[in-house]
Symmetry: C2
Subunit: 469 residues, 2 copies
């Protein structure tokens, strides 16, 4: 007899995500009768998604039940699963920081990385609340930064945390571009979130890397010359991805491609060269506003549908399952419908050479016993020394700054950015960022400022710009 | 009854070093009757140091015996200690690389880092020869890079390796500058070579960090305003050193100060600001020629003395022991004259969180049982995440490129330099460095070039410079 679940969605106003989850729950027999609690601090968006979900489920004749609240503690009560999709202050603070960094300090499309403390604070708060209210529930973390946040929650709380991301579907884009049937592909791409590498790629039982090589040798130039991205994130087969493959020996998958090294990101022409037309990948001054306005358009459309009680929501949203892993994972954990998934969970030896309490992205078997990562063993040394381990260190510095309020490691991470030109520039931009209204709202930044007063930072080192002398 | 030793010096033409060792051997009773074999490929320099050593010992009435050879295998026969002080192609290739990087590509005083493969090749060759000829001898590595080279030899051979450096004496400069009696200071500064940090600094049994803080608060500005370095390496109390202390929480010691982060090194004015007048530290276009010409002057003087059979060598060299650790360590190992030293030896748990086969710089008790590192435990997280672990990764990438001949990690390390402006610049400088005459002499670079031909590096990625579009 299958069991229903109580699923709480934090940041449920991320409407497209929430709608996909409702669909999958409606279409998963094992989870019939489940209860969904939507929580968001934005009442309008909360109301909208609750209307949409309820009516979609009714239209399909599903037995799901819904409720909504702006009270996080109330939302967590009796939860079996807590899905955290919230993105604090969202793209606004990112954009403000980017503008400050760009206009005044000449960074090209940088700055988002200063905004992550809001997210870490929220994640930790949710996990701490869960310890008190629903200590046995699973926390499914969807909002970024998944790697940093899941590691933080794993270390600081006793909650079972699993981070999910879409990036690993990049293997499907490789398969379809080079002409392989996706369902005959066997693959593995472990690493850290946004830093995963295709260690295994088999087609009909044989190593399919030679097929990638053949495509590169015979078709890639034509593809790069003619391909025009339809989505900002369409970069899996870009010149930049192939270049990383050649440099590091394994194909980078999904969001991994967007990173790779500072030299892919110095300016818009460089980015277009590596990531293609028309946006130069998802992280440019062309792509980002498009991405955000596209999100806004979809919200507008969904709001219209929510307020039109006659709208056919099944016609709008369809009735095929999405490819999201969330609902199948819940079904696996609750109803023992076993499956293989790509998850972000504490390492504990899954990948050799990384700390046990660091969250890694690996394949896992999920069933009633729990989420059981595969031991994938070693990654090649070039991947470890050039990508996985440097990323680990960056996150440790960030978490250290977050935890201690020691501003020096914040400064260090700004200095570590290749576009930073001098010590004084780094100090100045950090000082200004601290003064942004959105930043001031966040308690931890205030704590950092207080500590900064005690921090030994003599006047001798201020106001000096080597480049001017 | 004390035992004599057979000491072989590779690269004995490093005359000042060799002369210091002769002095210490003459003045160490336990090692009376020892035999010194000088080996160098430069016959003139070899002849000079052999004459000087022999006559100095005679003048003191010492029972040391000397011989010399240009044949490395012959020099290693029956050795108890092999001191490797050689610096292949020396400052010439460094200067050529620096000039290329500077004149053509706009790097400020960079390029030395491309020259280390010569050194690694020689170190490994010496250690391999020792395995065949004198497998029980200790190898004392003095030529740089000590960290990388000792790690390489430890991993690739069965020879007992101990690296030595002068950097840790920086604690004495701190003591004398702030007015402490050196012999009442107890200290500890573990880490990696050229990356060591003052974890403990006690004066008359009390924590003396507050005395450093007091000096900084009341006297540092005056010191920085008026102090003029007498040696190029006089930077222990510089503004840059104090700044690193404030940023990372522990005082950097010795050569550590010269590094610290790219932002101390962008141009000569910045360097003077952080490292003082008149040279801006040891690594500037002003300091380096002075340092090299100073070395040359001393060689000229020593050559003159070697050829003047009436010269009073004791008057020239003195008869106090140097502060070098080499001879006392030999005396400890052979004659059980126990002492505490600062050595570079395989980690095996001496510092937490580093691989066992990585060579670390730690205090060690030396006696007949061997070189026994102290377990110093953990270093503070900021030091680990911002300095020790990134340095480890850089060395792993370098050793990987050296071992496999895979040029991609060479390229990566060039890209990782903050002064590199674009991907194409990195490719171009590496291509040109491969063509330098001095580089072509080295077998391993040739191997890398051969492998580069097979390396997947399509034309699509060449000849593109994002900065020009």
């Amino acid at each position: 007899m299958p069991k229903a679940a109580h699923v709480t969605v934090i940041g449920a106003g991320s409407a497209q995500f929430s709608m996909g989850m409702v669909k999958d729950l409606c279409l998963t027999d094992g989870l019939a009768g489940s209860q969904i609690t939507f929580m968001d601090i934005d009442e309008e968006r909360l109301d909208m998604i609750c209307k949409l979900g309820t009516r979609y489920a009714q239209q399909l004749g599903s037995s799901l039940t819904f409720d909504k609240t702006t009270d996080r503690a109330a939302a967590l009560r009796d939860a079996d699963f807590v899905i955290n999709t919230a993105y604090v202050l969202g793209h606004m603070v990112e954009a403000d920081m980017r503008q400050l960094a760009g206009d005044k300090y000449g960074y090209y499309h940088s700055g988002g990385q200063f905004g992550r403390y809001h997210q870490l604070r929220l994640m930790l708060d949710v996990a701490h609340d869960m310890e008190k209210i629903c200590p046995d529930a699973w926390l499914i973390q969807v909002g970024n930064p998944v790697f940093d946040g899941c590691t933080l929650m794993t270390r600081e709380t006793s909650i079972k945390v699993c981070g999910l991301c879409h990036g690993h579907y990049g293997y499907l884009e490789i398969a379809s571009t080079i002409g392989l049937e996706p369902d005959q592909v066997v693959w593995q791409a472990p690493g850290l979130n946004h830093n995963i590498w295709l260690t295994h790629f088999l087609y009909q039982g044989r190593d399919a890397y030679p097929l990638i090589d053949e495509w590169i040798a015979t078709k890639a130039e034509e593809y790069w010359r003619t391909h025009v991205a339809q989505r900002t994130h369409d970069a899996q087969m870009s010149r930049g991805a192939v270049h990383q493959y050649h440099l590091y020996g394994l194909f980078p998958i999904g969001d991994t491609v967007r990173r790779g090294g500072w030299w892919y990101h110095t300016d818009i022409n460089t980015k277009k060269r590596w990531y293609g037309e028309p946006w130069g990948g998802p992280d440019t001054h062309l792509a980002r506003p498009f991405f955000v306005s596209d999100l806004e358009k979809r919200i507008t459309e969904m709001t219209r549908l929510a307020n039109d009680s006659k709208a056919d929501l099944v016609a709008f949203a369809g009735k095929e399952k999405t490819r999201e892993q969330i609902v199948p994972i819940m079904d696996g954990l609750i109803n023992n419908h076993q499956g293989l998934f790509q998850v972000n969970v504490p390492n504990h030896g899954a990948i050799d050479g990384l700390p046990p309490n660091l969250v890694v992205e690996v394949p896992a078997i999920v069933n009633q016993k729990g989420i059981q990562p595969l031991h994938v063993g070693s990654l090649p040394p070039k991947i470890m020394y050039a990508h996985i381990l440097p990323d680990w260190l960056e996150t440790e510095r960030e978490l250290l700054a977050f935890k201690t309020g020691d501003r020096s490691m914040l400064l260090w991470n700004v200095l570590d950015q290749h576009q930073t030109k001098s010590y004084d520039q780094a100090v100045a931009i950090l000082d200004e960022l601290m003064e942004l209204d959105e930043v001031k709202q966040v308690e931890d930044w205030e704590k950092m400022k207080r500590i900064a007063d005690h921090y030994k930072y003599p006047a001798a080192f201020r106001g000096y710009d080597g480049s001017k002398k």
